[in-house]
């Protein structure tokens, strides 16, 4: 299945909204993760290493439209944690396969 990157950029109220919205954001991603479709996902931080600036999600989806639809349903998008977000097709190059 093709890979896509969802890149979310936090809005001005994100610091306050994140702890409230996060349980639903995790509930949104958990079925995808359990189905083995999430390659990596987590917050992006500012220079202090702890204040979130956004989120990166790399996941499998049948199509770009489906990836966009998944992103649009994410509570971080619906409830305005993200001021904006991008969805882009992605190809994994590294790590190289060990062949085992």
């Amino acid at each position: 299945m093709p890979l896509f990157v969802i890149l979310g950029h936090d809005g001005p109220d994100a610091l306050a909204k994140r702890p409230v919205v996060r349980p639903r954001h995790l509930d949104h991603l958990r079925p995808l993760s359990e189905a083995g479709r999430v390659v990596v996902a987590g917050p992006l931080f500012g220079d202090d290493g702890k204040t979130p600036r956004g989120s990166l999600i790399v996941l499998e989806a049948p199509s770009l439209d489906e990836a966009r639809a998944l992103a649009a349903r994410d509570p971080y998008v619906v409830d305005g944690v993200f001021a904006r977000h991008e969805v882009m097709p992605f190809a994994r190059v590294f790590p190289e396969s060990t062949g085992s």
């Binding site: 610091l15 994140r18 702890p19 996060r22 349980p23 995790l26 987590g42 917050p43 931080f45 702890k50 204040t51 979130p52």
Partner: protein, 300 residues
């Protein structure tokens, strides 16, 4: 009854291999509803140190980080184990607690009993930056002491910020680390500064077990020893959080404290060849009309 500042430093270890010097901190922040337990166990006869951070999130999530390493206790005011740093800035007055490292997260504290849930647990980055100050003098116990504190700072869970202005209790114990057969511990602090810190435990003996009680109440700054501690459980109601009455009897008479446990983590372990379960619960209390918070632990 005062606690000497020397008790902040490591004590000469006893002969038992399990002899442990434990430093602990329990806190609850009313604004964020975040509750946490920090614990440091130094076992000089085993040459190890163990540090753990456990936080109950307001949505019932449970986060824990635990590290065990080779460790040699010294007289330094700083203990560093893996990603944790605990410093005594002024004995019996001020401390700092720092951690920046990995932790495991469960969606619900109740899942802690389930080994499979731990295998599926999310990896979270946990940052703990806490400044702890004494709220009043420490109260001595049997090779131990406990002390009401104020806790200020921040806890970050993978970018989720919790700003804390919390109350809590901290303390130390230095003794043989063999687990009791059964034990119940209650630590509660109320908005009017009254405090309950008590433990009843049963250890094996010739007559099937010896029960001991230790602890104290502090009301209006007056500290009185606890002679009896027991729990009266309310009939369970499906979907409701566990509710009970903590009954304490001591020199100051009897106290009946209503307690609800909205979050309970059943932590399963193995010690000395015996499996046990430690149920660690966040306690919301009402004591003579005064709201309070803390923790209730039951070991079986």
């Amino acid at each position: 009854m005062t606690v000497p500042a020397e008790d902040e430093r490591p004590h000469p270890p006893g002969a038992a291999l399990s002899w442990t010097e434990t430093t602990w901190l329990e806190l609850f922040d009313g604004a964020s509803q975040l509750a946490g337990v920090v614990r440091l166990d130094v076992r000089p006869n085993q040459g190890t140190g163990e540090v753990s951070f456990s936080f109950f999130l307001p949505d019932d999530g449970f986060i824990t980080a635990r590290h065990v390493t080779a460790y040699a206790a010294d007289a330094s005011s700083v203990v560093e184990i893996e990603d944790a740093r605990l410093e005594t800035i002024e004995p019996l007055r001020r401390w700092s607690v720092r951690y920046d490292g990995p932790s495991h997260a469960l969606a619900s504290a109740a899942e802690a009993r389930n080994r499979e849930a731990w295998h599926r647990s999310r990896l979270e980055r946990l940052i703990v930056e806490l400044d702890v100050t004494a709220a009043c003098d420490a109260v001595p116990g049997d090779r131990s002491f406990a002390q009401p504190v104020r806790v200020a700072g921040e806890v970050w869970v993978s970018g989720d910020q919790y700003v804390l202005a919390a109350r809590g209790l901290r303390g130390k114990a230095w003794r043989d680390g063999v687990l009791a057969q059964r034990a119940t511990s209650v630590a509660l602090w109320c908005d009017d500064d009254r405090v309950l810190f008590a433990r009843v435990e049963t250890r094996s003996g010739t007559s099937g077990g010896t029960e001991t009680v230790e602890g104290w109440t502090s009301i209006g700054g007056e500290v009185r020893p606890v002679r009896e501690l027991r729990l009266e459980r309310a009939a369970s109601v499906a979907g409701a959080s566990a509710a009970m009455t903590v009954v304490v009897r001591g020199d100051g008479g009897e106290h009946r404290i209503g307690v609800e446990l909205p979050h309970v983590a059943p932590l399963v372990g193995l010690s000395g060849g015996r499996s046990h379960e430690l149920r660690l619960g966040v306690a919301h209390a009402r004591w003579d009309g005064h709201p309070g918070h803390g923790f209730l632990e039951e070991l079986e």
